[in-house]
Subunit: 427 residues, 2 copies
């Protein structure tokens, strides 16, 4: 698809994408889409008649005058699809509606804003954030470190998508710097008795994840069936689930990670609609309809993963960037619809804006892991382009996650998921 | 304190209490207080000049025209204190302001509503719900069941308040019935390999807890010190953290409970302000300033627990109620301010309306435990008054938690925390 707008060939936001987000430029927070180097302010667009050629959205235009995408998401997938396809039409070189934007200099001036001039925000009001553990290779790698090869995967792992509730308040948009957390760590893990010390985290790590935003809610007591689950998913973002490994090692028994994860979780601000990812469906590590899965988790089709190449880049204080890992979204054992079906099987209610993380997405080869812990095991340092070495993150390090499906000129990507580590706060 | 209003001597809502909640009667949700058998509609009260004798609240009256208590809570503890003391004054037999309500039949008629005629709601918009594990005896009892007496408590237990993130969306007000959840359980836990079956939960349990609502938020990256922590707490409620033990046993490794807890958590709808509980301060199992605690957790004073007798009642289908347990809030090893200090030590931000559960509050003697699992260990049944026996809950069972501090005529209580188990939904 060619556009009358100049879109760089390497842009993650080609005409094939049309991701939705929340921006602020001169004024308040408004919904927008990203296209090439621009954001289209949907509040300005809608209030100037930009949707005049899409009759079905007329009764819902107030969703574009909101500080979050929750109201738009709640309209449901058929509406998201119509709006995305309409906006693709508006931007196409051979648009059916040239009068809407292509030949409308005034609306271009008021609604089409260079992305370098906008601030991005967390796109939805997140009710609850759940983090799954669906990256099979990550679960295996971590299991080997803690329990050895023979017991690496717990007996439940291939029967259900393991998950824990995460912290919604500290989900931040890409670009937000985070202080290195402090807390209790065991300086000497083999001492008896075990006496913790108070310290800044010394094993600060990342986790490369995808995450889904929920669109359509379900009522308490009404599970979502696997066949309907995808229609409850609005779209995906990239996510860095920052992890303090030494705090985690001391605190996590018996109820799981808490302070090790609650100080910040970074997401890309543009939600890539589930329909935009449809062309990249692929079979994952195992098919979504594999034998052995209980019926409530069994998908109708085998291809329930996505072919999305992923990368992790680390840079210290403006130095030379180093790609430390290349992975792929195919490394997930469970699909997002399977996560929705499992999450709700007890009757748990999901709300519009709830966030479901995939778990860390690692490959099986060297330099394909989605965390430092897996790559270094605290023993084998990662070498950066500036000659320095890393077991874990240092203050001043900037981490960028990227994910880009498709081919040049037609990329469907997430943009950069960026975070920089600031020194610990003083006590 | 005597009131001109007739307040039953056994009411948990004496003049010494003045808890805040959200009610709806004929119209929309509004803030209210409970007093005796009545609710005072604070929207009607404020809009008819009820607060005319409290000058400091005049600029904030809009907080009483909201569907949640978040805005009122955010005003901070000094304001909560002034409003509570003013309302106590208004209701006192020797009130300084008889014209406000005592001698104002019109306002009594419009704002003072029999509680039997109102619907209660979850009083705050809960951003995140965190559940701690601060009940020492519960942690010990569960530890004995899983790991034996010698390793019952994990090494971290006496150094930090263990916690996990819970599910906010399914927190419901007292009186909301819940379906027995279904999910994966191990019908034969000793078989090899372990193959789960899909089933309604067969080990449905309760957990007797207190929970704190957060008033004043803290910014991301700004920990709350132990000395300031209490001023971030709005007040307490009773909480039943329903637990599906068989689902939990299969799913919980390695990241903690998830589906076993996400189908419903019941709270009392009236928030007892932290100031109302001040007279019931007591030393808990160990002092809040005990040696060995890291400084960020050490309270200035020893008396950081509360003397609040608690009870658990079970009734099947309108039969005769049975008190199956009597416990006390003194059984918590950590105080709510310690929980706030620990939660935020990494820089995690708490928001107004966040809910912090205490963990199950059990005693050390028979019939003082806050869960069926501890009382029965799946072996020794609890006998109910109707002659039937329980290892865990049956369909049709109604559980009521109660907590009542103080003495007759001056009780500071929470009211009933009630839930009835409905049959599982059909698949």
């Amino acid at each position: 698809m060619a556009s009358w707008l100049s879109i760089p060939k390497n842009s993650p936001f080609s005409l094939a994408n049309i991701p939705f987000g929340i921006i602020s430029a001169s004024s308040s927070k408004v919904p927008a889409i990203a296209i090439g180097d621009y954001a289209l302010d949907l509040n300005a667009f809608a209030s100037s008649g930009g949707f005049s050629q899409l009759p079905s959205i007329q009764q819902h235009l107030s969703v574009f005058n909101q500080p979050t995408l929750n109201a738009f998401a709640e309209l449901g997938r058929p509406v998201h699809r119509q709006v995305r396809e309409y906006l693709q039409n508006v931007f196409r070189a051979d648009t059916q509606y040239p009068q809407v934007l292509k030949d409308n200099a005034a609306l271009q001036k008021s609604a089409l804003i260079p992305r370098s001039q906008v601030t991005n925000h967390v796109p939805m009001q997140i009710g609850d954030y759940t983090d799954f553990y669906a990256g099979l290779n990550h679960a295996y790698n971590i299991g080997v470190l803690f329990r050895g090869k023979d017991n690496a995967l717990q007996p439940n792992y291939k029967h259900l998508p393991v998950a824990y509730h995460g912290r919604a308040s500290s989900v931040v948009p890409s670009g937000t710097p985070l202080h290195r957390p402090s807390g209790q760590i065991l300086a000497n893990p083999t001492a008896d008795p075990k006496i913790p010390t108070f310290s800044p985290c010394k094993k600060l790590d990342i986790e490369l994840e995808l995450a889904a935003f929920i669109s359509k809610p379900n009522e308490l007591g009404k599970p979502v069936s696997i066949d309907e689950a995808e229609d409850h998913i609005f779209g995906l973002v990239l996510m860095n689930d920052w992890s303090a490994r030494d705090i985690q090692a001391w605190e996590y028994v018996p109820l799981g990670p808490f302070n090790a994860k609650n100080f910040g979780t970074t997401i890309t601000p543009w939600v890539v609609l589930i329909d935009a990812l449809e062309p990249f469906r692929a079979q994952g590590i195992e098919p979504g309809n594999r034998d052995g899965l209980l019926p409530y988790l069994r998908e109708k089709r085998a291809e329930t993963a996505y072919e999305i190449p992923l990368e992790v880049e680390v840079t210290n204080k403006g130095g030379q960037p180093t790609i430390i890992s290349n992975s792929n979204a195919r490394n997930l054992l469970y699909s997002f619809p399977q996560m929705v079906a499992h999450h709700t099987i007890t009757g748990c209610n999901l709300r519009s804006g709830d966030l479901l993380g995939s778990g860390t997405i690692s490959g099986t080869e060297p330099k394909t892991q989605g965390s430092f812990l897996e790559q270094t095991n605290g023993k084998t340092a990662i070498k950066l382009a500036d000659g320095s070495e890393r077991m874990f993150l240092e203050d001043g390090d900037t981490v960028v996650l990227r994910g880009l499906a498709g081919t040049e000129g037609n990329y469907v990507g997430f943009g950069d998921c960026t975070g920089t580590i600031l020194p610990p706060v003083s006590f």
